[in-house]
Structures are given as C-alpha cells and as structure tokens.
Symmetry: C3
Subunit: 410 residues, 3 copies
C-alpha cells in the first residue's frame, strides 16, 4: 500500500477525506445507560478527535455539545445539568440540546448577546441502547439506518463497549480478517468458524458480505457470512447473532461497541452466561471505565503455560481480547506499507479497496453507499438456504431482514 493511501484510510479528523466520509453517518457516541436519568451528570465524549460533552436533559433528550463553552472556553463537563439545558459553572451561560444559548445571566438584563452565541451541538438519536450522533453537514443528515440490532427490544440485546488503543481501521480489518480464525482463536468456539478454502466476497448496497461458498466440512455443508456495512459495522454469524461497530475516538484510539442479539426472543440465561464469562466478544472492563482489565499494560494477562499447553493458541483469555491484543500489538497505527499480503488476505484487501473506491467516488461527486436506511437492513446467514444457490445468490436472496409481512408471505 502506498503511504498516501495508508494516510487516507487512517486519518479521521475534521477536514480529512475519511473524516468527512464518516461524518455523513450516524455514529454511536455513548451508551444510553451512561446517561441513566434526566438532568443527571454529564459525560465526556471524544469522537473523531473532537472533545464533546453529552447530557440528558429534563425531557430525556440527549445533547452532545462542544466541551468548550463559547464564552471563555471552560469545560462544559463541569456544567450543571438544569431545566432543559446545561449551564457552564464559570459564568452561568446555559445551552440547550440544540446548542442555543437559553440563558446568559452574566450579561445585563435586556442584552441581546445570548441570541448571537451558539455552542457546537450535534444531533443525537437513541437506538439500541446507544446514543448516536450525526456530525456532518445538517442539510445532508440521513435517516437512521435499519441496523437490525438497534431495532430489537432491549431484552433481546446485550451491548458493551471498550477501547482499543489503535487506529479504527486496523481494528475493523481484524474483524474481517478471515484467515486468523484458525490461529488466533484456536481453542475457542470461533475456531470452528474457520473459513473453508473457497472464500468469497460479494458487494451489497451498504458494503459487502464475506464468507464461504458452501464447501463440505465434517459432512456438513459449510456456509457462513459476515457483513461489512458502512462505515464501520460488522454483522457476525454467531448464535445469538453478533455485531460490532468500531468508532474512531481519534486516530490512535477506537471505541468498539459489541452486541449479542436475538431477533426473535429475549436473551436467555445461557446467552447471558456466554456474554458475561468474557470468553467471547465482550471483555471485562475496569469498573467505571471503558478499558479492559486485561490490556496493553499487562500484556493482556497472557498465560504462557496455557499457551504452551496448546489449550489456547495465544494464552490470552477470550476472543475479544485476543483480537484487541493482536491488533494493538501492531502499533497505534500499523504501518501498511511494510506488509506482505497473501491470498489469505482477500478480505483485508477487499475492505481497503472498497473504502478507497468509496472515497474516490465521493470525491468525484457521488453519494456514499449505505445512507439509505433500508440498505442496512441486513442479516448474516449461518447456514445455506438450500437449493443450488451460489454464495452471491444466497446473500442476495436471503441476506436481508424480512419484516413480519414478508416473513408471513414466505
């Protein structure tokens, strides 16, 4: 990869090509449960290199404002969350969720100054247990995407997040790196999902589907897909279904949102046991933080005896931490100009090519893919739908979430 393309893919700050592309999409900014009550404590949010403060107002709406008060740049994090607005504690300027200055008691009565001042505010929507922000041009704000996991009842979903101390794309790449399943996760259930030889990638409206095309394995017809949806979503063919979103905190840190969900029923005890024993995609965090207990500073609590025994290929506990650890080990921004890619890196190459093509098309005036809400209404396939369908045909005909009416008609 050229240094130019590497830079183009990695940088997400305001004004960068990728940064502006990402800002066209709704992005998870904070968990809903971190803002549990109206008029509660504000929360710091860092998103694409911008420092912000989130708060839930009296009516339950979430505001996401610039951390800096426009008056004298004091931090709104220390603000008082009052009647439908947050008030800077330095001089009492108060702003609502839309960024309007609704009170400016430091100025003389009758002053018109407050009508001239706004604080940067990003629109928010709450879906699927998270607060989502839109940071792009107001006139281009899309409808919220029909991501299946955001549309199921809360009881059907388990959502966590944790920080990965590396660039967002490096982490996304890990999510679509099919060839690592047979190694990094050896000794876990994920290993059983290792790709057969004929691996395929098929473009869909909002991204692409990647997976096997039906080779025979242990007498069963193997067929799995995972899907990439713009700009950083992954749908995972686990049971229950899984999903990830890798949201850039800045260019050297990423917030990974991880989901288990069952479209048909509430998660049961067995699902929750899997989620909470940290063997799978949800690591255990240091309480009160978004950092995993097993992290870079303690070598992910690697157990060399366990590794030597072969029971775990890495000696690191849990699929989520194995991914996180190996991705972070590549450095804050892995150098893509020194790699040696093989045929097993098809999905990685496809992902990069896909994003570079999108950037080029947008630069040439096209709309990015995946803005149409229905384009995100996808579901991964865990088994072949039957018949002689090719991988591409199977994805095209059965990779969408059907609504009740459609399902009934089938």
């Amino acid at each position: 990869m050229t240094p130019e393309d590497h830079k183009l893919l990695s940088e997400t700050g305001k004004g960068t090509a990728m940064g502006e592309l990402l800002r066209r999409f709704w992005m998870p900014a904070v968990l809903s449960r971190e803002l549990p009550e109206a008029d509660g404590a504000p929360v710091r949010v860092r998103l694409l290199g911008e420092d912000l403060v989130a708060f839930r107002d009296t009516k339950g709406r979430v505001g996401l404002l610039d951390e800096r008060c426009p008056h004298r740049t004091a931090s709104m994090f220390f603000g008082r969350n009052e009647e439908c607005g947050i008030r800077c504690v330095y001089h009492g300027w108060k702003f609502d969720v839309d960024g309007n200055c609704v009170d400016m008691p430091s100025e003389p009565e009758g002053s018109n100054f407050k009508h001239k001042v706004k604080i940067k505010a990003y629109p928010c929507i709450e879906r699927g247990g998270a607060v989502w922000a839109y940071m792009g041009p107001p006139e281009l704000k899309p409808e919220f995407p029909d991501l299946e996991w955001t549309m199921v009842p809360d009881s059907h979903r388990y959502l966590t997040r944790h920080v990965q101390e590396c660039n967002w794309l490096q982490a996304v790449e890990g999510g679509f790196d099919t060839s690592h399943l047979a190694f990094l996760h050896k000794g876990t259930e994920s290993e059983a999902q290792r790709p057969p030889e004929r691996y395929q990638v098929v473009t869909i409206a909002a991204g692409f589907a990647a997976g096997s095309d039906g080779a025979i394995f242990r007498n069963e017809r193997r067929f799995t897909t995972s899907m990439f949806l713009m700009p950083f979503h992954k749908l995972i063919p686990t049971r229950p279904l899984g999903a990830h979103a890798w949201v850039p905190i800045d260019d050297e840190n990423t917030m990974l949102y991880s989901v288990y969900f069952n479209p048909e029923r509430a998660l049961d005890d067995e699902d929750m046991r899997r989620a909470r024993n940290f063997e799978h995609i949800h690591p255990e965090n240091v309480p009160g933080t978004d950092r995993a207990r097993a992290n870079k500073d303690n070598d992910y609590l690697i157990d060399r005896e366990l590794q030597a025994s072969g029971a775990s290929f890495t000696g690191i506990y849990g699929v989520g931490l194995q991914d996180c650890g190996i991705q972070e080990s590549m450095g804050r921004i892995a150098d893509r100009t020194v790699e040696h890619l093989g045929v097993s890196d098809t999905a990685i190459i496809k992902l990069r090519r896909y994003l570079l093509d999108v950037l080029a098309a947008v630069n040439a005036g096209s709309e990015p893919p995946g803005l149409e809400p229905a384009s995100a209404r996808m579901r991964v396939l865990r088994q072949h739908p039957g018949g002689d369908l090719s991988f591409a045909e199977a994805v095209a005909q059965h990779g969408r979430v059907r609504d009740a009416a459609e399902a009934a008609a089938e």
Copy 2:
C-alpha cells in the same frame, strides 16, 4: 484577540517580551519553611521555565542557582549543602549563593580555573514567609515592593501555595473575573461579594483597582475593591484580608501563592479555622507536594449530588479549588482567539489591555509601572469610606496603606 497578542501574553520564557517584563520584578520562588534550616537539604525550583535549585547556606542566606553544574551539567539538587556553599557531588565543585566557584578540588592545586567559572545565580530576599528572586538584569534590580502582606509579622499571616496546571495569565484572569462570583462560587461566602451592576476599573500607579461604585444591595451601600498590582498580584477584600500571586512555573504551569493576613493583629483561631477547612482560597495539598488533593486527575472530587442539590453550584469543595478547576478546564493555555466576550468581561478585557499596553510602552523605552516600592503599598477597601466620593476618588484617597504616623494624624 489576535493570535499574536495571545502569544505575547502567554509566553514567559527567557527572551520573550512578557518573560523579560516579569523578570524585572521580585517573584516568590519558594516558601521560607521549605528551607527550614541553615545547611539543610536543597529544593528544586522551576521559575519561568528555568530549572533552579534553592538552598539555605550556613549564614541563613538563600541561594538560587542553575540546576546544572557548569562543569559537566550534573544536577546541583543532589549537591551537599556545606559551609557557605553548595558542592556538586560529581566532582566537588562548590558555589556560594552569589554563584562564585569557591572550591574546585578536582583541579590541581594552584589552578586558576575556579576564578573563571560561575554558576547562574539569582539574588534572593526573604519577605512574608517566602523567598523572592530577581531574575532580571542586575543593573535594573528594583527595591523590594511594599506589599502589605509581606510587611506584617509572621503571626499576622497565613501563606500557602499550590500548582495550577495552566498558563499564569489564565489563572490571573480568573482572579479578576468579577462576573463569575455569582455563579462559580454560589453557595459560598464569596457569592455575597457578587458585583452590582455598575462595575468600575480605575488605574493606579502599580496596576488597577476594580470593583463596585456604591450601588445599594440589601439596604447596604455595596462597595468592594480588588486590586491588581504588577506583575501578578491580587489584593482581595476578604476578612481577614487576602492576597494572591500567580507565578509562572513555565507556560503551562503556575504556582499560586495564597495569603490571609491581618495588618492589626495576629490571626486568631477563627481565622485559622477558615484557612484550614479549605472552604476558601487555601486548598489542601497532597502531603509533601504542592499539588491539591482534589485535582485535574480526579475531576476535583466533584460531587454531582451536591451540585444537583444547588447547595454548591459546582459540586467542588472550596473557593480555591473551584477557581483552579474551572481555569484548568480551559486547557493548559486557553485559546483566547475563540472567545465570545460580553460586557461582564470588563475586568478581563481591562487586564489584558493593561498588560498589552505595558508591553508596548516598555518596548518603546518606558519603565514598567510598579517598580517603585511605594506603588505597591496598597490596601483594598471593604466598605465605602463615606461621603460623596466616587469609586475613583475613594480608591485614590483611601486605597493606600497608611503608616503609623499617617494613621495617627487622621
């Protein structure tokens, strides 16, 4: 504010305009009690970005030397404080408080080398419980200023210091920001000092006086002043009287010296109770350090329930920490180019204008104001002196400290 003016006000290193201006004044470098005994342990001092070492010699004089030995640049902090000089432990070179090399045992007997070597040494004076240094051109060294709090007996004064992790001027501005009193400190005694509407600023010889001009509040004639004295002093109209000095450690850290003093009598138990319960300007430090226990890393131990209750506007305990916290929250060097100043920011604007004017005048060849010792002999007014005096007249006629003879004559 233009980026140029912002830079001009913020930078205090050697060779900068503000740095050279500050170096024309005596500045507190260390507390006297940190050098409790002759020939005791040396202490590190960082002042205006220069790394220094202070020590008290056999005769009780304090030396303030370059941290680096001129021989091979070893740190004099590890030096032996010996008979009237400090000796570098690497090769035994010894320097007195004036920077002379008084012994150089590593060189052959009869060598003249020691007479050719000096270490950078700044003159020091002890006043008011602090060691003050003069870092400017020797030929321009002024007399020590008649700051009232430095002239009262030790029993009449309570002096502490702590670090603010931000630029010095940002902290000074907080001290003269009158409009924050009604907000940041709501729920404290300082709130009662909130400025009435007709707020005035009057230039005095060494700086300016700022305050109300006598509006009626709760049936009382309101009248308070605070004073700015060059280059970073504030006189505070509390009971007992208060004072601050914000001394640049470097451009991103400031040492705030805070004083209570009573010109007429020793501080009594009630005064000390106020000082030591940390509700007011003196925060509690981590023992053995100059850092407050409630600091940036723990969000100043903000109590969100207390804040929500309205009993404290910030939920941060103590006027000193409220100021420190909000000033630090603006960043290491707050960006003055993105502010939105209103009419309530009169004092801030005045302070900046005043300093920029002084810099311009000095650049044009004038002497800075405030070098004349008597010009610092000021006292804030806590009540209107009576009669029909305007604010300016009251400050001019009653804002000076009278000596015994003058007082008797009145």
Copy 3:
C-alpha cells in the same frame, strides 16, 4: 564541543555514523537466565532503537527477530515458541532463529509464498551469561572477542544488568571519569582508588588504558589501571575484577551490564556478599524488571542526613547508584556544548577524542579497532608489576591476559 560532534557521539540509530560503528561489534542483548529453557516464553529486547524479540528454540539456540511479523506487523512477542521456531499468533506464520519462514499455514497448500518472506534476524552467541547479538552487515561479522569475563566458568562470574535513563556515552564517560572517584564515592571503597596526580592514558589495540603512573600514596606505590575496549566495555581494577558494558537501548536509555569475576577460582561467599548488598556496582532491581529500586523517580532514595553527616558524600547508597544517579541527573542527553572542562577531565576528553577519531578513520575507509578477538584479551593491573617500568610499558608488557601456556612459561 561542537553541536555536530555532540550529535555524532550521541546518536546510535540505524544509518547514523555511531550507530553503524556499534553495529560492527557483538553486543549483549539479554541475560541468558532470562531465557531459561528451550521453547520458553519470548522476551522483548530493544537495542540501538530497534524493537526485537528474543526466544530460545527447541535446540537451545537463541533467536533475535524483528518484533514485527512481516505479514501484518503483529508483535512476535505474543508468539508461540514451538518446535524450532516462533509462530505469530495472528495467522500462524512461523520463523526459525535465522529468520526463515518455516511454516505459513494461512496460505493454500503448495503456495511458494513462504520462501519469499523473511523476518529480520540477528545472529546470536551466548557467552559469559549473556546472549550477544551482531546487528551489522553479515559479510563483516567478526569473531567473538576474547573478553576475559566471558571466558571464565559461570561459577567464577556474577553478572547483572540495569537500565540507565540517559544516553549511552554519558554513562560510559562516567565510567572513565577518574576525577569523580574522590567525591561521588567518598565513604566507599572506591574512594581509595582516587587517582594520584600523574594520571596517564595509553592507547592499546582495542581502546585505551587509563590510570596512575606510580605515585606514592600512604607509603605504597599507587598503580591502577582501568581499560576501555571498543565499543563500550570497561575493565575495572577491583577485587574481584570488574567489568561494565554500556549498551544503547536507544539514544535516551542504556542497559548497563555489570560483572564481578575471578579468573582463578569460583566466587566465594565474601564476593557474593559484596555483590548482593548493593554497595558496589550491582544495584538492586525492582523484581521482574531491569530498573533499580532506587531510581530517578524517587531521587535514588537519597538520605540527606547521611549526606550531611559526611559518612556518604551523596547520601545515595551504593557505588552503582551513585554513578547512575549523577549521570541521569545531567538529563537524557547531557548537553556537551555548555561544559567547562578542566585538566581533571583528561580521561573524558581522551574518550571523546578517541571515538571521534575512530569515526573519522572508519569514514575514511579504515577498519574499526577492537574487531580482532585477541585485542580484547586484556586485564587491568591492580599493582605495579615491579621494576622501573613506566605506565605505558607496564600496560604493554603486563596488561594482557596470558593463557595457561604463557603463564607457565613465566
């Protein structure tokens, strides 16, 4: 010293003049006991600014590889140490100690890709309790030097290492700074080795010998030497004999290897008592690390009362920590352009001159000195060999290690 020469001496990265010179020599990379068993856990190594991973393979050979896997740059530190090779846990690529890719299971059977990929690998030799690496051009690899301490049985040697948080040459200079012995180490046995006035430096094939020329001290003929051997070795005239090697970790950190050894017999209880009470050159490390317990962050646990008492000139316990502390106190890379050198700095000046001359000669096409194994076969003299020999004659005739045949013939 000019800024150019200062830079020339300090920088050791790949492509710098000094960096390339150092890479011509075998350098200690890790202690043998840190890789105690075949197929055990790998160890991180940082050498001359390069991040590497060391592992002991099934046959007991030590490999020293690039930390980054050439495939996708994951860290080989997390690798599995398997049958004669280390396997990256991301995709299973496996490399042997010579850097060959011996397995690439992620690629299709029959793929030739693994024969096209190599990982950077440096040749290693184990000698004297350490693993030594050669990082220079393969065609210029020298024979291993005949350093005496690497040639004695393990029972005759005590070897430790610890980090100095400063540039390598600053630390080496401390080792050859003769004039500090009478000061820094006052109150220790090293003090008794203080140089008489007539101090001499004599060039030898691999470096130089420095010491006294036989002045009379306390009725004894004083005669001691220490030796500098290319590129960073010191031989120390203690009892038992001592040695140091200052190996650049990077330009701001140095790994100091410290040795006691007795060529004739195993170290006895008294020798070990001296080594382990940390009074001498071996400091006590934080368990599991290479950092001394008394370090920069705790001011080397300086005891100011002890220092004031005169029992220890520094108040810092142990010769090794006194050296480490004062060298680190000069800053990460001490500024050699502001020094004031005297006649007592002869050895420092000689060392710098020597290295600058070597760099110039190598630049002009010469081979560096000290590559010939026998040139390192030196031993310091602890007493005058007798007769009228000058210092230079004594070093020339008696400064070599004699082998058994030679010794018998004498």
